[in-house]
């Protein structure tokens, strides 16, 4: 085989160039620490890397969201702890006020403390978060949710609840509307409220807590009237007689799916209203309780009226406490959800990072050994080229 001088040089130059190029590629990999310099090095890997990076970014965002939701929920939980304490103190005060040894003056002191507690409760309901947003205003975070008006207390927010994405599929509320927490409290036992008429002259009291079996109750309003001290009749909202009979103190009266017990001695003409629980806010419950305590008591009938008011207050506070507990439980379970999601996200992020590293990161051991090998080959090629190209017949002429 002939070898033309031109081909000899050309081929050697091309070989050296090819070796240098692959050496350069490896050098670039080692210098950047990345397996893939450009998508064409590994098209599928590059696309996967882009998708992985996108997933990692969004997981990071979810973690950030979760952090913010968690801090808002912690603030809510702290606030609700305060609310619970205030409500419990109010309940203790109400029980204390119900004691027969209390006088009009001592009840005034209790009422004063209740009113102080009410102010604190109102302040807690108007708590702001770190962004200066009202925590319990629903969507209307720039509006103070609870204000005292001449008619009582008004809620100025809405029933909205803000959600935060903590994973691709999971959104979690980071707040509760103030209406649900503070305003929408069912008085009485939560479904039925019984109230003695203010004009009653007897000492009969009706206890909501003793209202049993509300399964068949259909939000109907009834009026229990004592036609005599030992006889009663029950009429519904339309004045239709529902039930009537003889009455012994402590007896249960059954009507409309309800089982109502009245203690004490009702007088002839005494009227008790039994109806569906209305929604009230907890401020009004405390406010009314304080007002009842501030009203001086002169006779037995007034006393029975006050007792009924205190009872109603205690029942209301129980309902409020139950509501706060329910909301706190919700907050607690959301916090637990966030915590487990944050763990899951962190785990997912780790797996994603590892997959990304598998695709993108350089195997240094392999790269360095390839580098050494290529460098050796190049050196050998250069030396042999130098030696061979010196062999020319012309040098011997």
């Amino acid at each position: 085989m002939r070898v033309s001088t031109q081909a000899f040089f050309q081929n050697n130059v091309l070989t050296l160039q090819r070796l240098q190029r692959s050496l350069n590629d490896i050098q670039e990999q080692v210098a950047t620490g990345r397996q893939i310099q450009r998508p064409s090095d590994d098209p599928v890997g590059s696309a996967r890397a882009l998708n992985l990076r996108e997933s990692i970014d969004s997981v990071e965002q979810f973690q950030r969201n979760a952090g913010l939701a968690e801090s808002r929920l912690r603030l809510e939980e702290e606030t609700l702890t305060g609310v619970t304490e205030l409500l419990q103190r109010a309940r203790e005060l109400a029980l204390q006020a119900a004691n027969a040894t209390q006088t009009n003056e001592s009840r005034d002191f209790v009422a004063a403390e209740l009113r102080q507690g009410l102010d604190q409760l109102l302040a807690l309901a108007n708590t702001r978060d770190s962004s200066d947003d009202f925590l319990f205003a629903g969507y209307q975070t720039q509006t103070q949710p609870f204000t005292r008006t001449s008619a009582g207390f008004s809620y100025n927010g809405d029933q909205g609840q803000r959600f935060v994405s903590i994973s691709r599929t999971r959104q979690i509320p980071d707040s509760d509307s103030g209406e649900r927490v503070f305003s929408r409290i069912r008085e009485g036992n939560g479904q039925v409220l019984t109230t003695p008429s203010a004009a009653n002259t007897g000492t009969g009291t009706i206890f909501n807590n003793d209202v049993a079996g509300v399964t068949g109750y259909n939000f109907e309003a009834y009026e229990v009237t004592f036609t005599a001290a030992d006889a009663f009749e029950v009429r519904d909202g339309g004045g239709v007689l529902v039930s009537s009979g003889a009455f012994t103190p402590g007896d249960s009266i059954t009507f409309g799916g309800l089982d109502v017990r009245i203690e004490g001695e009702p007088a002839t003409g005494d009227v008790f209203d039994v109806g569906p629980s209305p929604n009230t806010d907890m401020f009004s419950i405390i406010d009314r309780l304080a007002a009842a305590l501030e009203t001086p008591v002169a006779d037995e009938a007034q006393r029975a009226e006050q007792d009924a008011a205190i009872n109603r207050g205690i029942e209301g506070l129980d309902q409020a406490l139950a509501r706060v507990l329910e909301v706190r439980t919700g907050v607690g379970s959301r916090l637990a959800t966030i915590e487990s999601q944050v763990d899951a996200n962190a785990g997912a992020s780790l797996v994603l990072q590892e997959s990304l590293a598998d695709i993108e990161d350089l195997d240094y051991a392999a790269a360095i050994s390839a580098l050494t090998q290529q460098a050796t080959t190049l050196e050998a090629a250069q030396q042999s080229f130098l030696r061979i190209q010196g062999l020319s017949l012309f040098r011997l002429l």
Partner: protein, 627 residues
């Protein structure tokens, strides 16, 4: 006596010529395209002298070059293929680098834009998060545009490269025609080696630019054809390829063959070589990339705008457009004779394939053809504004009076990015809040609750109206005291263009109010929905999110570039070995020439010695006769 002198002289002359040729070989050892030459010697015809034939010396038959047409053809083919893939890989690599640059690619910009949307949803009331989102929207637009600008730059460059290559092809064909004439003049008796070498070299250079077919005539001239047999050179004549502005876009170049039978567009006909690589790059990498990016821009803009229109902005109004994109292109050909014009609107970007279209009027019907597959697409509709032609997610409206045969170019997304902008004037334009809200009356006896509504039709005239749903029984309700509608717990109530969900069992007398959402600074319902557009499948028939589509674009461009690079490497080796084989036969080996040099030098010395002996003989004879 004179015969020996004649023999010596013929030898001297033959060996001097041979030495000349060796010198020529050594001189051209590195000349591209040079084929080594040898003087062909033969003994002169002998003279009969009665006792036998006596030789009369040596004569030069011809100077021949070592040339193998088969090997040369292999070099041509390998060269054409190598330069095609080299060009494709070179330009492809630039797009490849551009797309996946960790800083300059689209992925990081998309990611930080959608992160800003999420941050905005966390705290919609704060001007800071709105401002950050606005800035991110602008930088997303800037990123799209910078990518598109760079691709436009590459496009411009390829157009120039096409023009440049075409002019080189024309120059080469002129030179080949010129050499043809000189070779024909030189005749076929004695081959004009250096002219042939030069012409072969020019043909090899030509095949690096474009695939050609070469046929040889008996008179030594060659004919060169391109494409489907379009003549480039025939004898001493050439036909030029021309670059002229496209009929649809004066800024784009088309290559035209001006033949005897009229003009032929060559874009899809010229194969191989640099020009083939350039066209292939434009058709398989550059245009698809620009279309894919355009489609992504349209997808981001449309989905974001659509979602934004379903919420309330900072001023409490339904959100307006945040992004605007360039319109779809529907350009009449410059050759059209009618007055028809078309306008094209992208209705569903997920259905739009990554291809351009030809839209034509055949005299009775309008017809649509896809550029990439050539397939005809069935149109529905009548083409009027009220009932446009619809196909592939596009709506085409026709105006004016086209003549039969008039053609229009349709490019749904190619101009989308050049017209991409943030049209919202301030950060308040982002709609974070839901448009409506529902609330349960505080005096309700049941604990049933209502949600805030999902907007279905914001154009409903009563969309923002306040309505009261009042339950006249557990399973019937009236709206604003009118009518009686059946209700089963779990039902969705559609009212005023929104759908409301009631949870729990309402009872008689329960009232629920639905109304315009006001004062809702902290409402992030629509912001969450805006954030969810990140993962929404909007492209490729609804199967890919924008970032997934981008990743698959990167994979496509990457693998095409990789294929081109690998093939280019392989073709370079094929070319090298073809060239080596050609040079094995035709190339100069200096050692060999050195040996030849010595051989002919010695022969020359010997011939000189013959003449010297002839002289001595003469002297001897003279001396003998002087006595």
């Amino acid at each position: 006596m004179s015969s020996i002198l004649g023999i010596g002289t013929s030898a001297l002359s033959a060996f001097r010529r041979s030495l000349d040729t060796v010198g020529q070989n050594i001189a051209n050892a590195n000349t591209p395209g040079y084929n080594r030459q040898r003087v062909q010697l033969s003994a002169r015809s002998p003279q009969f002298s009665g006792v036998g034939f006596f030789g009369r010396g040596v004569e030069i038959n011809s100077v021949e070059r070592y040339y193998n047409a088969f090997l040369d053809n292999q070099v041509r083919n390998a060269g054409s293929s190598a330069s095609r893939f080299e060009t494709l890989a070179g330009f492809g690599g630039r797009v490849d680098d551009l797309l996946a640059d960790p800083l300059a690619g689209l992925a990081p910009a998309l990611s930080s834009f959608y992160s800003a949307v999420q941050d905005f949803s966390l705290d919609p009331a704060t001007p800071a998060s709105r401002g950050a989102l606005f800035a991110e929207a602008e930088s997303l637009v800037a990123r799209f545009q910078s990518l598109d600008d760079q691709l436009a730059g590459v496009s411009e460059e390829t157009s120039q490269a096409v023009a440049q290559t075409i002019s080189e092809i024309n120059q080469l064909s002129t030179s080949i025609a010129d050499l043809n004439q000189r070779i024909v003049t030189a005749g076929t008796q004695r081959p004009p080696n250096d002219l042939l070498d030069e012409r072969d070299q020019l043909v090899r250079e030509l095949t690096r630019l474009v695939d050609v077919t070469v046929t040889e005539e008996n008179n030594g001239s060659i004919n060169v054809f391109v494409g489907n047999g379009q003549t480039l050179v025939i004898g001493g004549e050439t036909f030029e390829l021309e670059v002229q502005p496209s009929e649809f876009d004066p800024n784009r170049n088309e290559v035209i063959y001006r033949g005897l039978g009229g003009d032929t567009p060559l874009r899809d006909i010229l194969k191989g070589g640099e020009i083939g690589g350039l066209f292939e790059f434009q058709n398989t990498i550059l245009d698809p990339t620009r279309r894919a990016l355009g489609a992504s821009a349209v997808a981001v803009a449309q989905t974001f705008n659509e979602q934004n229109a379903l919420g309330l902005d900072a001023n409490g109004n339904l959100g307006g457009d945040i992004f605007a994109t360039g319109p779809a292109r529907g350009t009449p050909s410059a050759l059209n004779t009618g007055t028809g014009d078309i306008s094209v609107v992208v209705q569903d970007i997920g259905q739009v394939p990554q291809s351009g279209y030809r839209f034509l009027f055949d005299g009775t019907d309008y017809r649509l053809f896809r550029d990439d597959t050539g397939a005809e697409i069935t149109l529905t509709g009548t083409g009027t504004g009220a009932d446009p032609f619809r196909a592939d997610g596009l709506a085409i409206t026709v105006s004016g009076a086209p003549a039969a045969g008039d053609t229009f170019e349709v490019e749904p997304v190619l101009d989308a990015i050049s017209g991409l902008s943030v049209v919202a004037s301030d950060p308040g334009a982002f709609a974070a809040a839901g448009p409506t809200r529902g609330s349960a009356d505080l005096n309700n006896l049941s604990d049933a609750s209502i949600d805030n509504g999902v907007p279905l039709d914001t154009s409903d005239p009563n969309f923002f109206a306040t309505s009261v749903i009042e339950f006249t029984g557990p399973n019937t309700y009236s709206v604003n005291g009118v009518g009686s509608f059946a209700f089963t717990p779990g039902d969705t109530i559609t009212l005023n263009g929104s759908a409301y969900t009631l949870t729990g069992a309402p009872t008689t007398g329960d009232r629920f109010t639905v109304e315009r959402n006001t004062n809702a600074a902290g409402d992030n319902r629509n912001a969450l929905a805006l954030g969810a557009t990140r993962d929404a499948g909007v492209l490729a028939g609804g199967s890919q999110s924008v970032s997934q589509a981008y990743a698959s674009l990167v994979a496509t461009v990457g693998s095409r570039t990789r294929l081109a690079e690998n093939t280019a490497d392989a073709q370079a080796i094929v070319l090298q070995s073809a060239e080596t084989r050609r040079l094995e036969e035709s190339g100069v080996n200096l050692d060999e020439e050195a040996a030849e040099l010595i051989r002919f030098q010695q022969a020359y010395q010997a011939a000189a010695e013959v003449i010297s002996v002839a002289g001595d003989l003469f002297d001897t004879l003279l001396a003998a006769t002087r006595r």
